[in-house]
Structures are given as C-alpha cells and as structure tokens.
Symmetry: C2
Subunit: 315 residues, 2 copies
C-alpha cells in the first residue's frame, strides 16, 4: 500500500498523521514542540515520529511524501519566511525534513492547511466552488481555497482577513503594528475587550464576577441572558459579518467556514454572523452557506496531507 | 493554420477578433449592438461577422472555438444570468452561438475577460502570482485572476469590488439598491459627486465654470492646481486605495491593474492610490505592483480568446 504523511506544526505540539491514498487516517501521533535553540530540534523530532509511525505500517509499505503546515508565511518557492511561535526565521523546512525522511516534503501555511482539510474531509466537504475559512482564536487567521487549490498569495498573505482594516479610527495598536484590523475585534482578545467595555455600561452584568473572561464564558452568559454578554456577541458578530461580506465581493466563495476557539459559540454565534453578513453583502451572494469547522485540531494535519497528494497525483 | 475567436459583447458594440494559436491578433471587426426586441439580433449579428472574418483567412484555415465576454454574471454552468445592457434575461448565449458557428463557444464575464486579457498580453503580462483588476468607469467592475484562471465566484460575483461596502453610513442609494458601495465613490459618477461637494467648499474653483464635469476635466484641473479638483482626486484615491488594501488581505495578488475611463488619470492618480493603499495594507503586501491597463477597449476581446484557449489546449 501507498501512504502520505500530514503534519501540522504548532507552537506547543505537532499533530502528525499517516493517510492511505483514499484519504483514510491510518494512525496519528502528537509530537511536543521544543522551541528553545531557535527551534532546531523541531524537524528532527518530527522526523523521528515519522519513522516510528512508518514502522507500524505493513512490510513493504511505500511512503510517497509528506505535507507540512507551519504557523507562518510560506513563500511561493516553498521557503518558510519566519515562524515566531517556533523560533524560526527564514528556513528551508521542507528541504531539511526531506533529507531526514528521504521522501518529498511540501510546505504550506497552517491556516491554509486547516481550510484545505475542512474542504477535503470536514465541514465543507465536496465544495467545488471555493471556500473561505476564518479561524477565530488568540489571533484571526483565514484562507481561501479555490477549487482544491490554496490561494497562498504573492506574499503569502492570501486569506489573511485578520489584518484587513475594518476601523480606520482605532487608536489601539494591533499585534501587526497597524490599527483597526479585524483581529482587534473578533479574536478572543478582541471579544474580551468589547465585553469589558460593555461591563462598564452594564454594572449589573454577571461578567463582572468572573475571574477571567473568555469567549466560552461570554457565550454562556449571553445565552443565560446577560445584557453585556449579549451585546458583546452581537457587536463582534456584526463586525465579522461585514468583513466576510467584503471577502465575498472579492472571491465569492460557495461556503464560509468558521473555525478556531470562538467557533464554540456554535449556531447562536453563527446566526448573528450570517445576519450581519446578509445586511452587508451584495445581492448575488446573500445565500452563501456558512458552516462551523468540524475537524478541530486535526484540520491542519488533514489539509497538509491533501496538499502533498496534489503534488503526488501522478506518482 | 488554427485560429480562435474572441468577442467582447457590449451595450453599444461588440469587439470581435480572430487570433492564431500563438495569440497574435490576425484581424478584428466591430459589430454594432442592437438591443431592441430583447437583444435577439445580437448573437446572429456577431455570428455573421464571425463568418465574414473567417472568409478572410487562408483556405483550409481551422477555427477551434470562440470565447465570448458578456456584461453580466455568468453561472458556473456557462449560462448568462441577466445582461441588462443587452436586454438579455437568463440565456444560453454560448449554446446559441455554437449552433450558428459550428464550433465550441465559452462564456465569461466582461470584467473577468478584460483582466485575463491584461494578464495575457497587456499591462500585467507574465504575472504568475495573481492579478486583481479594477475597472473605473460609469460603474466599477473588478476581477481576480489566479494563475491564469478566472475566479468567477460561486455566484458570478468574484472580483466585484465595486459593490463592497466602504461606508455603512452612506444615505444615498447605489445602483445595486444598497448603500455605501465602493462604486458610489470611485466611479465617474462618484468622482463627479465628490467634486460637486468640493465646489461648494471652494467657491473660487475653476470647476464651477465647466458645463459638464467628467473625470478628464477633474484630473486636468487638479493638475492645473485647482484646490477642489485636487481634493476630489485625493479623496477618491484614498477610498480606492483602502478598498484595494482589503482585497490584498483576501487574495494577495502580485499586481493590481487599474483600468476603465478614470485610469486616464495616469501616474498622477495612480501614485495617490498607491499611497493610500500602502497606508492601509498589512505589511507583507506593501510592495505589491500597480499598473495602468494597456489594452484599452481590446482587453475583453483578448481575454475572451485566451479563455477559450484554456479549454482548447488539448485540441
């Protein structure tokens, strides 16, 4: 049998999976990420896990190649151009891995991998007409999949909706150094910031008695009827819906996928995002589908394997 | 020899060209558009011109097929879904043309065709990393070309940046029925509207003595030092630059192409658009190229031919 590896390299661990050619996940492994020393151990550690997993396959099993998702921009030529969370600067991560594993390795950005995974075997399965995924976590990532191709962008910034300016009047600075990016409002941090503003306006809010605010708590309290939490969710959904309407005017996907920690807001959150989207979007795109990501932390690993398969079609 | 036709069907006329397989334009024709009677004569009239042009080719010349650009949305299946300017509703324009010409006909939207033409043989020649074109005329069209593929979108709205909301507080209505679309500010009409507002603030403006305002006059007067005209150009460029920065966060093209009548503002206008873009865009995309379209009214015809060639590769 022939197999393909998918790896999603993250700041705390790497999810590694081996798939058969039909896309069935055969086995998986989690490899802790050691970022000290410029992240030099990361690739050898993953390579060792690849060897170990390969050893569990039947005798004569053939490994065709590996897709590897990294938390940073990947240049058109396949070089990593800085992964702050891994301690990497500019690095030929695919080349280094290929030397250790002896098969071809293909690199892509982790947000792109997650989206590709969701399109392949997740919430947007069999979506031929383009999918746009937005990942709502500590930061806000995004990706546009066209057919089954990743739109990486000329500068590795394709799908980076988190740093689209949505409020030119913002005075606080975004992590990117600019002001008014989408991420400042719809990331976990952004939602908590809005909640704090709302708590100032609603001294009766139950949120005031919470030790530490999180997206989960805000959604819970909103569902329980807390006015500050309800308003926070609505304001956040409004901004996100408007930004996705802008994305529709550019790439008009068949489906929007909402992923990341805040997608835990489920249908309650999704409905408000869609409502805002429909108010803001041009007519032909009003009925675009919205789904919540379904592969969770496995999405990137699936997408990485799928990405490699695209290059290995003829093998 | 083998040939391919390209046609750009417009509200007043159709530009028709015949190309050899290397992409050289061999001959062209302009066919007046008769929109009366639901535009029923349009396709037969073009088919007649196709036959006439074919007759001028050498004996034994083989026509492989035809690309046809239309001023309206084209569904994924190839059906026209309403072209107001032609009097067409939902129509199988490609099928009707194919019956009359006896070769395969491939349909695409005219803004997409113009962009594809510019990428193929125009201002964005050999741009492998994606191109985004915005066409500034009576309306504002747009298109995203990924590699050499047209991103038509699930609803035919790919690249339709003209109807991206840029000002949710707008009170006047856009032609699309919504409020605050980019088109309301950066189309010819939008620029003239801004000029009128500026004329109210600058009673000394030379624009006040113009019979009818146009983009051309506004650019001329701005270059001549008229304060109202200068401000009009700057405000328009500001809004356009910000919108293109949003587009970069979604599709991160290698190059932006500025086309349509207002691209006549040339470098003077382009520099101000780029300045605003750079202020608004995320870091990796700051150096994205900007070019002025170079094929003029022929762009759509070139792009239509190129679009057909994509389907006829193996023939």
């Amino acid at each position: 049998m022939e197999y393909i590896f998918g790896a999603d390299v993250g700041g705390s661990s790497t999810k590694l999976g081996v798939f058969d050619r039909e896309g069935k996940l055969i086995a998986e492994r989690t490899v802790p990420t050691v970022t000290s020393g410029g992240g030099e151990r990361i690739i050898p550690d993953i390579a060792r896990a690849v060897k170990s997993l390969s050893g569990e396959l039947e005798p004569g099993a053939k490994i065709l190649g590996m897709g590897m998702a990294v938390p940073g921009p990947v240049e058109a030529g396949g070089m990593v151009n800085g992964c702050v969370n891994l301690g990497w600067g500019r690095k030929d991560a695919a080349g280094e891995m290929a030397v250790l594993t002896d098969f071809p390795v293909f690199l892509l950005n982790d947000a792109n991998a997650a989206a590709l995974g969701e399109v392949w075997q997740g919430a947007a399965r069999n979506c031929g007409g383009g999918a746009f995924m937005v990942t709502l976590g500590t930061g806000v990532g995004g990706a546009f999949i066209f057919g089954e191709q990743v739109v990486n962008g000329a500068n590795g910034a394709g799908g980076e909706i988190g740093h689209m300016t949505v409020n030119p009047r913002e005075i606080e600075q975004c992590t990117c150094g600019r002001r008014g990016c989408l991420e400042q409002y719809v990331s976990t941090r952004g939602m908590v910031r809005t909640a704090k503003e709302q708590m100032g306006l609603h001294p009766e809010s139950t949120l005031l008695s919470c030790d530490e605010l999180s997206g989960k708590i805000i959604f819970e309290q909103a569902l329980a009827g807390d006015e500050a939490a309800i308003k926070t969710v609505r304001l956040t959904a409004d901004i996100l819906g408007q930004a996705l309407a802008c994305a529709a005017a550019i790439c008009d996907p068949e489906v929007f996928i909402i992923g990341g920690g805040l997608s835990g807001g489920g249908d309650y959150y999704l409905e408000q995002i869609v409502e805002s989207y429909r108010r803001s979007v041009m007519y032909p795109c009003r009925e675009t589908k919205f789904v919540i990501a379904s592969l969770g932390h496995q999405a990137g690993m699936y997408g990485a394997a799928r990405f490699a398969m695209g290059f290995l079609k003829g093998v």
